[in-house]
Amino acid sequence: MNNKRLLYIIGELDDRYIVDAAPGAKRGRRPVWVKLAAAAACLALLLAAGIAIYRAGDASPVLIGGVRREYGRARIIGGDEAEIEWPWEYKTPAERYTSLTLDGREYVSTGRAVDGSLTGKALGVYDVEGYDSYTEETNRLRAEVFESGGICAGRVVAVKLEDGYYTFVRKESDPPKTFGEALDVYDLADVLRFDRFGTYKGLKETGYFTIGDDAAIWEVLNGCRDAECVPDEAWSRGEGDYIGFTVTSDALGVYKRVFYVSGDGYISTNIFNYAYSFRIGEEAAESIISYAVRNGTEIPFEPYTNTLAGTVTDISDGYILVDDSVLCRDRADGMTFRIPTDDLRISRCIDFRKIGIGDLVVVSFTGAIDVEAGGLVVGAYNLSKGTLSDGGAAVPE
């Protein structure tokens, strides 16, 4: 029987696909870093749930993109659009082209831009591919590929798309055997900076700090080159004292990942896309922790992504205006935010979600709010309709 022959040939599929689809599979190792990311940034929970909530809480002041607001009990709850599969014409170049094969090695896009000045040696021109799930076709584009910073091209590269450079990371690669290998292959000392960290007891965060100079931390880490990569289960966040640096690196293509240092002698990080832990010993770990704690300045906790919410009052002149009076204890204290609409990620939401004047909306953004520039919101990337709730269940308005 011919179909039986096919059934047997399917039995010889690549191992990675079999593991990836296994019943109850952890979807590769990704959930490990999702879990780690969630620890560094509580709002990751909201992304995972597919829901964006803007919440004022119980009449306490809140910081939104660095701006202090006095809100009452009301809140706006919005459906997140992160999971929407946009039609091809509504996708940004980085969303369209997501995979690259270079010298037989597969890379996937991180979706994160990297400044052209950070790119290194040109590696050649290659096809980048993107799948259009609406037409079920694979589209290809010839693109220039470069090294990203001083990182080994076997792990991360920068690809020039029509609106800038974007990092692509190797889909499958072996873990570094030692921390020294990770330092060299990823050029960590040059592409990573430790300037924010949280302190933890078990799963509980006990403080969030900024630190000015990380040279002493690198000095200790450089002395841990022989630290071996250990299995995932060797260290977990459940017990003991530890600190977690929040790290962002354009050259690596990572945003707000974590780099834990535990009192019992481990470092554990998801900056390589997979979670890897290294045993550096208690003495080295303790010297990093004590240096950070001694020199840290406490700051308010920073969410993974910022959100603001309010009522749309105008859509014109390249901006959408959102007024937050509806959330204020005193409506007269309302503030207007200006969200640029020249970014496709915002304009497509207005088109697709049919957002109009008078609608309640939730805006997600990664930058700050420039009050001097009339409440300009920097880095807005998502806009969704919301519903108003008075501290209880959400009710459509």
Binding site: N2, L7, I9, I10, G11, Y17, V19, A22
Partner: protein, 186 residues
């Protein structure tokens, strides 16, 4: 125990290798066998045969991934047993439906059935899977490698059974097109 240590136990000819394999992958192998055979007793026998095959194969073989090494042995043993049971009219499980579905992928015409052509088909399958979106690929592999029921797949991925069926239908159509382009008659 991590896989490397379990493989070391096989290489050392320590019978603890079987105990550790059973502890770590017993349920997984049972799932693979049971999906095909739908009988606990038959599945258990296949799983035990899998351990024996692994014991005989390592050494000299040293599997790169123990889980799939065991899974592939279990799947083959279970399919063989299913064929035997079907000949005795005792076959059950998802196989008849899976075979009907796969028949849709098979272009018409005479089959060459050569080792070279098997290699070409394997290559087409590899390219086909690489091009599929992640979730579609997982659904395809769950149905045609693990032979999970549509209902079970729907439950795991939070989809309706109809969505799973449509996803599989489109994937089969795409695979058929790729096989036809290469003039493969499975």
């Amino acid at each position: 125990m991590d896989d490397g240590k379990i493989i070391e136990l096989y290489l050392d000819r320590s019978e603890q290798a079987i105990t550790e394999t059973s502890r770590k992958y017993g349920r997984y192998c049972h799932y693979v066998a049971y999906s095909i055979l739908r009988s606990d007793q038959d599945a258990e026998e296949c799983v035990n045969d899998t351990y024996l095959r692994a014991w005989n194969a390592i050494p000299p073989h040293r599997p790169r991934r123990l889980q799939t090494f065991l899974g592939k042995i279990t799947r083959n043993l279970s399919l063989n047993r299913w064929e035997k049971l079907s000949a005795e009219r005792r076959g059950a499980g998802q196989i008849p439906m899976v075979l009907d579905e796969l028949a849709e992928c098979v272009p018409d015409g005479e089959s060459a059935e050569s080792a070279v052509e098997d290699m070409v088909i394997r290559d087409i399958l590899r390219r086909f899977l690489r091009r599929l979106p992640d979730e579609t690929r997982r659904i395809f592999v769950r149905r045609y490698w693990y032979m999970s029921s549509v209902g079970e797949i729907a439950k795991q991925y939070g989809l309706t059974e109809n969505q799973v069926a449509v996803t599989l239908f489109r994937a089969r159509k795409k695979l058929k097109t790729m096989l036809e382009k290469e003039d493969i008659r499975v």
